[in-house]
């Protein structure tokens, strides 16, 4: 059930996620480099992914608020994909560099980080991420937002990976030095997988990929039920940032006036805007088709 508290949390959860991820990321990467813990650096890159996703949400809100101008007739939503694409490339790059460092340190049997400071940092990161998970999970469940729920799941993974760093430190103290870089390599796999998914998503969106077929069918059904629509010539739906832009061409009776035709187009438009979320713009072209 929804309550006013949950709504307040909903508006905050993005910002809190971003700030916490940046702080934890900066903290862990600093301690990780200082104490030469590969796993802790990898954990901080995981926080980097969180920063990217949180930034996407916030940037999307900001850019979609920016009015359409002469130079950008389709709005500014796509800038979001470029930012996310850039961040994911950076993350992939740093993950690869870290992989080579980790592999080298396993191969040479370099001493792992046994300092208690690293352990403390890992535990702090684990506790913070776990708290973040519980908070975001609560908001996501209450408001039934899949985006926030997946955000929460991510925080869970981060909490587990931070805890694993702690295991690495303990192992290093009892002489198992290879555990820390090994944990790092597992985390690198996770980072690369997540970043590649983000990168692929932003490239295909930049290329104006269509919405999945199930979604376009759903939209087509909403168009077809409107009175006066004789058929759909084509329906293009693409994502511009957080919003969906629809270009639609429908067939209508050739013997009515353009004014009536425009009214049909308007009701198609209102039907789509009322029934679907995140609609940025609907362009309806109407063509004549004899019955």
């Amino acid at each position: 059930m929804r309550c006013t508290d949950c709504e307040a949390c909903h508006s905050r959860v993005g910002w809190i996620g971003l700030v916490v991820s940046i702080l934890i990321g900066a903290f862990t990467i600093f301690i990780g480099i200082l104490n030469n813990s590969k796993a802790l650096i990898a954990a901080s890159l995981c926080s980097g992914i969180d920063v990217a996703t949180a930034l996407t949400v916030l940037l999307g809100l900001k850019l979609s608020g920016k009015p359409i101008d002469l130079e950008h007739p389709y709005g500014h939503g796509k800038a979001e994909f470029i930012v996310v694409g850039g961040i994911s490339v950076l993350l992939i790059g740093s993950a690869i560099v870290l992989f080579f460092h980790s592999a080298r340190s396993i191969y040479h049997g370099e001493p792992g980080p046994g300092q208690l400071l690293t352990l403390a940092a890992a535990l702090v990161a684990a506790v913070v991420n776990e708290t973040k998970y519980r908070y975001a999970n609560c908001v996501g469940k209450q408001l039934q937002s899949p985006a926030i729920e997946s955000h929460a799941e991510h925080a869970r993974v981060d909490a587990i990976s931070s805890a694993a760093v702690g295991v690495g430190v303990v192992c290093a103290r009892i002489g198992l030095h290879f555990v820390d870089p090994l944990i790092a390599i597992f985390e690198i796999g996770h980072i690369i997988k997540a970043s590649c998914k983000m990168l692929k998503n932003s490239i295909t969106s930049l290329m104006d990929v269509s919405l999945p077929e199930t979604r376009t069918r759903e939209i087509q059904k909403l168009v077809a039920v409107v009175e006066g629509v004789r058929g759909i010539n084509y329906l293009f739906a693409r994502r511009l940032g957080q919003h969906i832009w629809i270009e639609l061409s429908i067939f209508i009776d050739p013997d009515i006036t353009v004014y009536e035709g425009k009214n049909i187009a308007e009701s198609v438009k209102t039907n789509l805007i009322n029934k679907l979320n995140h609609i940025g713009n609907v362009q309806v072209q109407f063509l004549a088709k004899a019955a």
């Binding site: 950008h72 290329m207 104006d208 990929v209 077929e213 006036t257 004014y259 072209q285």
Partner: protein, 323 residues
């Protein structure tokens, strides 16, 4: 580029076959040049020539990107990509220029630190010969790429040609650097490397920015929009142009225009009107991929009876003479 929307252009068939060959030619010549310049630069101790070699190597990466993106954008449109895959060309441009940007920073820092640390020796004159070969080869590649790229309006091929131009300039800088070093000014060779780095930095930021703008669906220039506006208004019965939205899909442009017509016009007549507008706009250039014409009208003024009757009669008498 400027005249492409004012003049109907015919692209000969041979240009398309040429455009297909250009990336392959560039790929192999740059690979050879890179290997040649880097090894000679290393052996003779010329920092400038070595940096120039790295520059050519980054061109090889760029050309690989062009070849791949052309393959993808040639696939055309399907339900998954209703607007075609042309935009992959801009994605590959952004990627390539980001790499170049990083390469430039490495070259700059390396060259500046070697100037500051001192103890420089003049490079052997064999390096001079190599740089001259590089200049000539790059002039040929640049002219070839620019001709083919402009003919088929491929941003990727034009970007690649500009790469070769930048390469040529950097090789010229290297020539001066080597001569200067041998005349006793030993710092001029790494100074040439600094210039090479700045050239790469400049091209990568300007061209990368251009590709980013195309990716976020930036419109044509206001000047071209005005031309389009004029053409639409020439069509009979178009009362007003509500909007013109344009964006670039790889080699081609996509147009959405909203026009206002009389509310009493029949839909079938409106259909013909839209077709005429579309036909006229498509005639401007073959680089226009598609035009979507959306009709709109103001509310018919029911109170004004004379106007309504006039509109009604007008509807009956409507005879179309589009040509």
């Amino acid at each position: 580029m400027d005249s492409q929307n004012n003049v109907k252009s015919k692209t000969p068939e041979k240009c398309f076959t040429c455009a297909k060959k250009v990336p392959v030619v560039c790929f192999f010549s740059n690979l050879t040049l890179a290997a040649f310049k880097m090894s000679v630069g290393y052996l003779t101790g010329s920092k400038g020539l070595f940096a120039d070699g790295i520059h050519s190597l980054s061109d090889v990466v760029a050309t690989t990107g062009v070849i791949i993106s052309l393959k993808i954008s040639d696939k055309g449109d399907d339900p998954q990509y209703p607007y075609g895959r042309g935009k992959i060309e801009f994605v590959s441009c952004v990627f390539v220029y980001s790499i170049l940007f990083i390469v430039a920073i490495f070259i700059l820092t390396g060259a500046i630190s070697s100037i500051l640390s001192g103890g420089l020796k003049a490079p052997n004159l064999i390096s001079l010969f190599t740089a001259v070969v590089s200049v000539i080869a790059n002039i040929i590649l640049f002219r070839l790429g620019l001709c083919a790229g402009n003919a088929v309006n491929s941003p990727a091929i034009i970007a690649n040609a500009n790469e070769n131009k930048a390469d040529m300039l950097s090789s010229i800088a290297v020539i001066f650097g080597i001569i200067g070093s041998n005349l006793g000014y030993t710092y001029s060779d790494p100074l040439a490397a600094v210039i090479v780095g700045l050239i790469i930095l400049g091209t990568s930021t300007t061209l990368g920015w251009k590709a980013i703008k195309a990716l976020i669906d930036t419109s044509l220039s206001v000047k071209k929009l005005k031309v389009i506006n004029e053409i639409i208004l020439e069509v009979q019965r178009v009362e007003r142009v509500n909007y013109i939205k344009t964006r670039q899909l790889g080699k081609q442009y996509w147009l959405d225009v909203g026009i206002q017509v009389s509310p009493e016009l029949l839909v079938r007549e409106g259909d013909i009107l839209s077709q005429v507008v579309k036909y006229k706009l498509m005639k401007i250039s073959e680089r226009i991929k598609d035009v979507t014409v959306v009709l709109a009208c103001h509310k018919p003024e029911a109170k004004d009876e004379t106007r309504e009757i006039k509109g009604f009669l007008g509807k009956i008498k409507a005879n179309f003479s589009f040509a």
